[in-house]
Symmetry: C2
Subunit: 220 residues, 2 copies
DNA sequence: CGCTAGTACGGTACTGAGTACAGCCACGAT
DNA sequence: ATCGTGGCTGTACTCAGTACCGTACTAGCG
């Protein structure tokens, strides 16, 4: 079987980074090992860090597409499935994802790069949800909180899996996501109810709960 | 009045970045303008980006100190006040903060740098809260969600202020933070009550609420 | 006063990432 | 056959960041 230039660069980079460390490896070494010219490397990846994150643009596009199909009433589902797309990508990568995790954990420059790419996902979720909640009280804030919560829950279970602390990643994901989706209550179809009350008495809180439930069922 | 080398470098850098753009400005130009040697620049700031974020280490230390003094029962307050420390720092910076915001908004490299420093705050909160919730069900996940929520709420109101969309930043902060502190409910002394229920009926949810309130008041 | 140690600064020389540019070759279409 | 066109290569350059050494100034001590 034959490999593309891109694939040969990626494997060469991974091997060298693991053998010598990221900083100690020069782009010249990578291109020599891959048997291509130096210019080709930078045309393909832009920066030395990017060679480790070669699929994010594509995954980002898939996530955006999924969020774009959400309709009122299916938004919580769309958010959850969109996050699931990212997770599935890591699962598909398998051992490659773990190799990258070991590298990003130990090299500060790579950590920063990874954080930046997480931020791109966060922004994508944030933009969509903000749009959905436009006009609602505290919509912008609630949207950002929901987006970060989804990303955080996703990253939490993903990291457990990358560390080898867990094996049933989909199950962990299903468990963690409801925490994250609290601020999208009216979307959850009554399965999970969240009420925030500042009432001073127990009966006041209960009244707030009944009010909230009545409002939610009126939406349904 | 006399200025330290550090201060002269900072002002020179800000001026040049605003006049010519960040990428078009070389470290040589900054040091020439400030009247110091090139070596001094890198000894003082490490990287060209760092000159724009000169106080984060110190603020980070203050935040850590505040979180360290939290005791069971005062944790929600500690978290809120710790976030407030960061906010107050920006308020004290005043126009400098806005100048930096304009730069970070337009230059990708600076945006990444800023995101990375936000992540440092997030980690700090996360570490403390994780420690507090050790042993509780889903403690690690809830801790991360709380930390990110606090950071998100903080950043949300801060950004409004930096954009000039609001003037009463402390008030916005007080309003936004309760959203973020939802997952620290048992700490809020009853002022904010959050209940997550999966009960299939209204009465079931209400029963869950009463149970949760009973449990919380037993803690008090 | 001389001596010493620490601290802040400066200069030189180097590595290596990233850019600009010009050229080359294989290919498919007309 | 030739004419793009897309993927590849080499050369030369800028500039951030590092290593190393030398130099002033100050503080403290005999």
């Amino acid at each position: 079987m034959t490999f593309t230039t891109r694939e040969r660069l990626i494997t060469a980079a991974f091997d060298l980074f693991e053998a010598q460390g990221f900083d100690a490896t020069t782009v010249d070494q990578i291109t020599t090992q891959a048997g291509v010219g130096r210019t080709t490397f930078f045309r393909t990846f832009g920066t030395k860090e990017d060679v480790l994150f070669p699929h994010h643009d594509e995954v980002l596009a898939r996530v955006a597409a999924r969020l774009g199909t959400a309709t009122p009433g299916t938004r919580a589902v769309a958010v959850q499935e969109a996050a699931r797309i990212v997770l599935d990508h890591y699962i598909a990568e398998g051992e490659v994802a773990r190799r990258r995790y070991r590298l990003t954990s130990s090299v500060p420059a790579l950590r920063e790069r990874e954080i930046a790419s997480v931020e791109r996902y966060r922004r994508l979720f944030s933009q969509h949800i903000t749009h959905w909640l436009e006009g609602e009280p505290d919509g912008a804030l609630r949207a950002e909180l929901t987006a970060t919560a989804v990303i955080t829950a996703h990253n939490h279970v993903l990291r457990q899996w990358l560390r080898g602390a867990t094996t049933d990643l989909p199950r962990d994901f299903e468990r963690a996501m409801p925490f994250a989706l609290r601020t999208l209550t009216s979307e959850t179809g009554g399965q999970t109810v969240v009420v925030v009350s500042s009432a001073p008495s127990v009966e006041g809180v209960v009244a707030d709960v009944r009010r909230a439930l009545a409002r939610d069922s009126a939406h349904a």
